[in-house]
């Protein structure tokens, strides 16, 4: 069996001058797995994602991404790893305001050779961007020609999803991507994202505070129960 995409052992992390925020004995995300990670706000979800994405320096313990120990990589090696293998979707304001829809979607190919080549193999960066957008329900040329800041939040999130998916990264990290959407749009968005992640073979790490979404995923975890430090926070 392929190595897990994310493998965390005995991770402890605290922001400077603050009590420990994370103390996770074990956490894994398998290739192609769609995992729902639930946690109230302030429970350290975004910090955990920062550690997995390699933009935060890991504390003690081990964070392995695709079998590579993040602590042993230099900053630029981690940047490369992220560029090559990670797609990220934020809660909102995902898009670079001065780029068109298509330019936003193909942007990761500018920073990653691997994803550029993958996109080319799939028929060229722009064609692949259009294909992904179409799969996510954005194929109206008028819509694609609009400024990204004029799109609805739901449309912006779908553009961000297409951007996260382009070039077949190994994992998609979605940080509360649906919290600004209404219930219908939310379920539809998750369906589309899951479906596309499955097709490209990307693992999906979906983070939210909304437990109602859990049934839409392969597996669900509750961060405070993975995190030994959380008990301390609760006691205070």
């Amino acid at each position: 069996m392929a190595p897990p995409i994310v493998s965390i052992t005995d991770l402890q992390f605290a922001w400077p001058g603050q009590p420990p925020l994370l103390d996770i004995p074990v956490f894994e995300l398998q290739a192609g797995e769609r995992l729902f990670l639930r946690g109230p706000s302030g429970s350290g979800k975004s910090t955990l994602l920062g550690l997995i994405a390699g933009v935060l320096d890991s504390g003690t313990g081990q964070v392995k991404i695709l079998d590579q120990n993040m602590a042993q990589l230099s900053g630029s090696q981690r940047d490369r790893l992220r560029a090559d293998h990670l797609g990220v979707i934020f809660q909102m304001f995902n898009l670079v305001p001065y780029l068109s829809v298509i330019q936003n979607v193909v942007l990761p190919c500018q920073f990653s050779k691997r994803r550029l080549n993958e996109a080319k193999r799939a028929g060229g960066t722009e064609a692949e961007a259009r294909r992904l957008l179409a799969r996510l329900g954005l194929e109206d040329e008028n819509l694609l020609a609009r400024k990204v800041t004029e799109l609805s939040v739901g449309q912006q999130q779908r553009v961000a999803s297409a951007r996260a998916l382009i070039g077949k990264p190994a994992m998609i990290i979605a940080d509360e991507p649906t919290s600004a959407l209404d219930a219908d749009a939310r379920d539809r968005f998750i369906e589309l994202l899951s479906e596309e992640a499955r097709k490209t073979g990307a693992a999906l790490l979906f983070v939210s505070h909304d437990g109602a979404l859990a049934p839409l995923f392969d597996r669900a975890e509750y961060l405070p129960s993975l995190n030994r430090a959380a008990i301390l926070v609760d006691v205070e």
Partner: protein, 422 residues
């Protein structure tokens, strides 16, 4: 990567069109001012150097070389002493001298200086790139009371061929000291030269002698009016003195030896100067002002460059989100850094290019007007290496200034990580 970062920088600037445009305009105006001063300075210097050419030596009574240059070439100030006619003939007869043109100054006409000289003046006097004086109309003086006037004189006073003119003794505005008993007639009008020749009225040396018959004491002797023109024409009108002599040599290489000879070995004390050398010395004196002007305009460029800094630094707050998106997608610190440097460079380059084009346009439009209205020919204002160096220097300076916002953005994007507080 390089091209795509530049594309990103360009699109980002286009997204902030108004701010970017204002910055570009600030740069363009400051560069235009700087290049304008530089070009005007160059034109002034060249025009100055071009006032006289082809004359190897100017000989006058001993004073200072700038003084001699000022009154003989620029018609400014007065000679303190004159040189005698025999000395002139001695100079003219020298083996190493190809030609010698005597000039006599001291009278005026409505504020314009009168230059007494020989017909050889029009043959040998050169200005600019050894351009000769050309007549626009009429001919060189033939009759005793003929005058050849400069282009500016003709234009300002509205004189045409045949117009009468009365010379004034000295430089007054006319009146009591008019030589009104000896009127002249315009026989020729010169083409514009952009030199003091344009403001000069040329008459023959003999005419200068003739109008001063009866003025031996420096004022008009009433008895002189009794002498008719007919009588005067019968006199020997060879002048007793001349103000200065323009000298051309057989061989330019002997100029230093000839000068030394004239300065030391003549029966009368003389001062011989090399026009180019005297012009350079005079320019040294006048040059300080234009160097100050150039320095001031260089500071204006510095102010323009600071506007790049202002524009980018103020944009950084609202672009925090953009930077963290780029980082999340896989942009490395070097990408963020070069994006902001590229934006500064684009602002600097576009502004400087625009400024250079602007000033070239202004000179192109202004040159014919200046030439037609004022007889000022602007030389050396075309595109030059200085333009290129300036554009390059402004761009490089912009790149260096861009380091500041680049470092700020980089530091923030590293601290923000994937989460940005909005």
């Amino acid at each position: 990567m390089g091209a795509s970062i530049l594309t990103l920088a360009w699109r980002s600037l286009m997204n902030r069109k108004v701010s970017a445009l204002l910055t570009v305009i600030a740069i363009a105006l400051s560069v235009a001012l700087f290049l304008g001063v530089e070009k005007a300075r160059n034109a002034a210097k060249q025009g100055f150097d071009n006032t006289i050419s082809g004359t190897e030596l100017i000989v006058g009574a001993p004073s200072g070389q700038i003084n001699l240059l000022l009154y003989s070439v620029f018609r400014l100030g007065n000679a303190t002493a004159e040189i005698s006619w025999p000395t002139y003939t001695e100079i003219a007869a020298r083996d190493d001298v190809a030609w010698a043109v005597p000039i006599s100054l001291g009278d005026s006409h409505r504020g314009y200086r009168v230059l007494g000289t020989s017909r050889a003046y029009f043959e040998h006097y050169r200005y600019g790139q050894r351009q000769p004086l050309n007549l626009a109309e009429g001919a060189v003086f033939d009759d005793l009371f003929d005058a050849v006037i400069g282009a500016e004189v003709a234009k300002q006073l509205g004189y045409e061929l045949g117009a009468p003119l009365v010379l004034t003794h000295g430089l007054g505005a006319g009146g009591l000291s008019d030589h009104d008993n000896r009127p002249f007639r315009v026989a020729g009008i010169l083409r514009p030269t952009g030199t003091p020749v344009d403001q000069t009225i040329h008459v023959s040396l003999e005419a200068i002698t003739a109008i001063h018959v009866g003025w031996e004491t420096g004022a008009r002797n009433p008895l002189a009016d009794a002498i008719t023109e007919q009588t005067i024409r019968s006199f020997d009108l060879t002048p007793k003195t001349v103000t200065a002599v323009f000298v051309g040599l057989q061989n330019r290489a002997t100029v230093l030896r000839t000068r030394r000879d004239l300065n030391t070995n003549m029966s009368e004390p003389l001062l011989a100067i090399i026009p180019g050398q005297a012009l350079a010395e005079l320019w040294q004196v006048m040059g300080t002002a234009e160097r100050v002007l150039l320095a001031v305009s260089a500071f204006v460029i510095a102010v323009g460059l600071v506007s790049i800094l202002t524009s980018i630094l103020t944009s950084l707050n609202e672009r925090r989100r953009e930077m963290s998106i780029l980082r999340a997608i896989g942009a490395r610190p070097v990408h963020i850094f070069s994006l902001l440097i590229a934006e500064a460079a684009v602002l600097g380059l576009v502004g400087a290019l625009l400024g250079a084009v602007l000033i070239q346009g202004i000179f192109t439009v202004a040159a014919p007007i200046l030439s037609a209205q004022y007889g000022i020919t602007l030389i050396g204002t075309g595109p030059s290496w200085v333009d290129l160096y300036t554009i390059g220097a402004v761009t490089v300076a912009a790149v260096f200034l861009g380091i500041w916002p680049a470092i700020t953005a980089l530091r923030r994007s590293l601290a923000d990580g994937l989460t940005v507080k909005l």
